[in-house]
Amino acid sequence: MNNLVGKLVVITVIMFGFGYALVPLYEAFCKVTGFGGKTDIIEEAAANSAEIIDRDVAVTFTSHTNSNLPWEFKPITRGLNVKVGDVQEAIFYVKNYSDRPITGMATFNVTPPRAGFHFKKTECFCFSKQVLLPGEEKEMAVRFLLDSEMPDDVHELTLSYTFFDNEKYAGQ
């Protein structure tokens, strides 16, 4: 009987751990499937040698700033007509309106989500934290290409960024 109690307690502990295991599982699931509009990363060299296909996709850039972050953040490149396989660059503008240096971090996703997996970045300001001094403004770039696997019925897609205040996580 005590053996059974022990087994049930072990199941309980395992299921508590399973709740936590869902975090990396979800992460891996999104990475593999592009679920949630996750994008992929590609090496600069590989990107430059990709074959360019004569097929246009209209890419729109949008930006949001979390209400806790006293920054202005907007796309300078509003939109591009991109050929599949062609490496392109979009520029964003950001300014810190506060009187203190702030660390920000941008999150992103692609709509429609199934296009996200085929949206490959070689370089992005969202790869690292951005520190802006009081009043500092700057332009930031994202370099990307659309890979040849991009679904045929995707003619336009949107890349959206949201900047968050990352001070709370600055030590990490």
Binding site: M1, F18, G19, Y20, V23, G36
Partner: protein, 528 residues
């Protein structure tokens, strides 16, 4: 001769010796007393949560803001749900399990009596913490009972109190579940094989496995919330790289099995009442067992139908839609088995039977609206509207709560030794079911017309249906005072109940005297 009679009395007294008041009710390890405590606690919480529902319905009597401000309204909807789910329905069924499982399987008590005491006494403290959050700055949790991140990452200290309370409730119900499993698997009377167990025992065994599978996941989810709030983790906070949608996945991985935790024991109770009053054995016993197990299994693979609108790939939506619809198959097996049990039976309509038939009818209505919600494209229209509110009250009130009321009338003579007042019982059934329908049926129409849930105000065109609903809610609430009166009157007196109580009922619980003595089945019964 008088000497002999005295000696006999004395012997009987020893056999049924009850400890003094404090030891009996506060330190009890007796399954019947702990069952009684659970049931009283559940009924108390039903009234606390019900009072909050009446605040909601009073505010929604007409458009505009009348009685409470919107923030307090949100606290009411949130805490009403938490209280009803974790305070009324779950402990109510644990109370039934404590009282009836040992009697049904011929065991002298639950397997782990001290843990039984502990798991009950955690609950009053958990709910004291939850309810006292009304008095901290910012008031009680107001995020909805689902405690979705990122809103709950921002809330005041009441969210922390809610999280601690949920941890305690979780520990309580996990201990209760372990106790049920160990009791059922180890303490059945000789000869009672698994496939001879009464349905209520089966449904509770499966429910207990669901509990230990998903309550820890929920505990993990709220622990992640807690560390996101205070200890610098970023599971759900996008500022640190987390994902709020992840919370919804983890929550509903718990949340969907949770709704079956709240309904499977009700199916068990119904499966006892209907054969008794149809005077026929339960039709399709083994299919009932397998249907229950199938429902439990399927409950793990349908969670995302609660979140069709978060933006999922089409394949995901289709999978969760079909999996959800699949559940209606085993559920339909159960409903048809109950109806077939009644078919050509010598039916009488005592109060428990009225409740059982009411549950079969009204729960099935709730199941039907559930099928409508499972249709992904339709759900985009129904999501977070009053249609959902109507749906889950049909399955939870006219499913779980009314099944418990029927079960209470069914076993009350066994618990108290007295028959309840049959006329009052029937009046209570009709008041409850009529007012229930007046309250919740119009909410289907409100939802289809587009009224969103969890708002303190609404556009003027929704007024009439809301007034029906509010009128019904107050009637429904007040009718429950009659329930309390009937129970108190039955405890105090009434016609003596026989051991069998009903006409040739099936089950070991009817072989012990009424009221069931303090100790039963010290010698295991013989199972034929």
């Amino acid at each position: 001769m008088s000497h002999a009679a005295t000696a006999g009395d004395h012997g009987h007294d020893d056999h049924d010796h009850k400890p003094p008041f404090f030891q009996r009710w506060f330190m009890s390890t007796n399954h019947k007393d702990i069952g009684t405590l659970y049931l009283i606690f559940s009924l108390t919480m039903l009234f606390v949560g019900g009072a909050m529902a009446l605040v909601i319905r009073a505010e929604l009597w007409q458009p505009g803001l009348q009685f409470v401000d919107p923030h307090f309204f949100n606290q009411m909807t949130t805490v009403h749900a938490l209280i009803m789910v974790f305070g009324a329905v779950m402990p109510g069924f644990v109370g039934f399990a404590n009282w009836m499982l040992p009697l049904m399987i011929g065991a002298p008590d639950m397997a782990l009596p001290r843990m039984n005491n502990w798991s009950f006494w955690i609950l009053p403290f958990a709910f004291t913490i939850l309810l006292s959050s009304f008095f901290v700055p910012g008031g009680a949790p107001a995020s909805g009972w689902t405690l979705y991140a990122p809103l709950t990452i921002q809330g005041g200290m009441s969210v922390d109190m809610g999280i601690v309370a949920i941890h305690m409730m979780g520990i309580s119900s996990i201990m209760g579940a372990i106790n049920v499993i160990v009791t059922v698997l180890n303490m059945r009377a000789p000869g009672m094989t698994l496939m001879k167990m009464p349905m209520f025992v089966w449904t509770w065994l499966i429910t207990a496995f669901l509990l230990i599978a998903v309550m820890p996941v929920f505990a993990g989810a709220v622990t992640m919330l807690l560390t996101d709030r205070h200890f610098g983790t970023a599971f759900f906070n996008p500022a640190g790289g987390g994902d709020p949608v992840l919370y919804q996945h983890i929550f509903w991985f718990f949340g969907h099995p949770e709704v079956y935790i709240m309904i499977l024991p009700a199916f068990g109770i119904i499966s006892h009442i209907i054969p008794t009053f149809a005077r026929k054995p339960l039709f399709g016993y083994s299919s009932m067992v397998f249907a229950t197990a199938a429902i439990a299994f399927l409950s793990f693979i349908v969670w995302a139908h609660h979140m069709f609108t978060v933006g999922m790939p089409l394949q995901g939506e289709l999978f969760f839609m079909y999996a959800t619809m699949l559940i209606s198959v085993p559920t339909g097996v159960k409903v048809f088995n109950w109806v077939t049990t009644m078919w050509r039976g010598s039916m009488t309509f005592e109060t428990p039977m009225l409740y059982a038939i009411g549950v079969v009818f009204l729960f099935t209505l709730g199941g039907l609206s559930g099928l409508m919600l499972a249709i992904t494209p339709a759900d985009f229209q129904y999501h977070d509207t009053y249609f959902v509110v109507a749906h889950f009250h049909y399955v939870l009130f006219s499913g779980a709560v009314m099944a418990m009321m029927g079960g209470a009338f069914f076993w009350l003579p066994k618990w108290t030794g007295h028959m309840y007042n049959e006329s009052l019982g029937k009046i209570h059934f009709w008041l409850t079911s009529i007012f229930f329908n007046i309250t919740f049926f119009p909410q289907h129409f409100l939802g289809l017309a587009g009224m969103p849930r969890r708002y303190a105000d609404y556009p003027v065109q929704f007024t009439e249906f809301n007034q029906w609903s509010s009128f019904g809610a107050f009637g429904l609430g007040l009718s429950q005072l009659l329930f309390v009166y009937i129970i108190v009157a039955t405890v105090r007196g009434g016609k003596k109940a026989t051991a069998e109580v009903w006409e040739n009922p099936e089950g070991l619980e009817w072989t012990v005297p009424s009221p069931a003595p303090f100790h039963t089945f010290d010698e295991p019964p013989v199972i034929k």
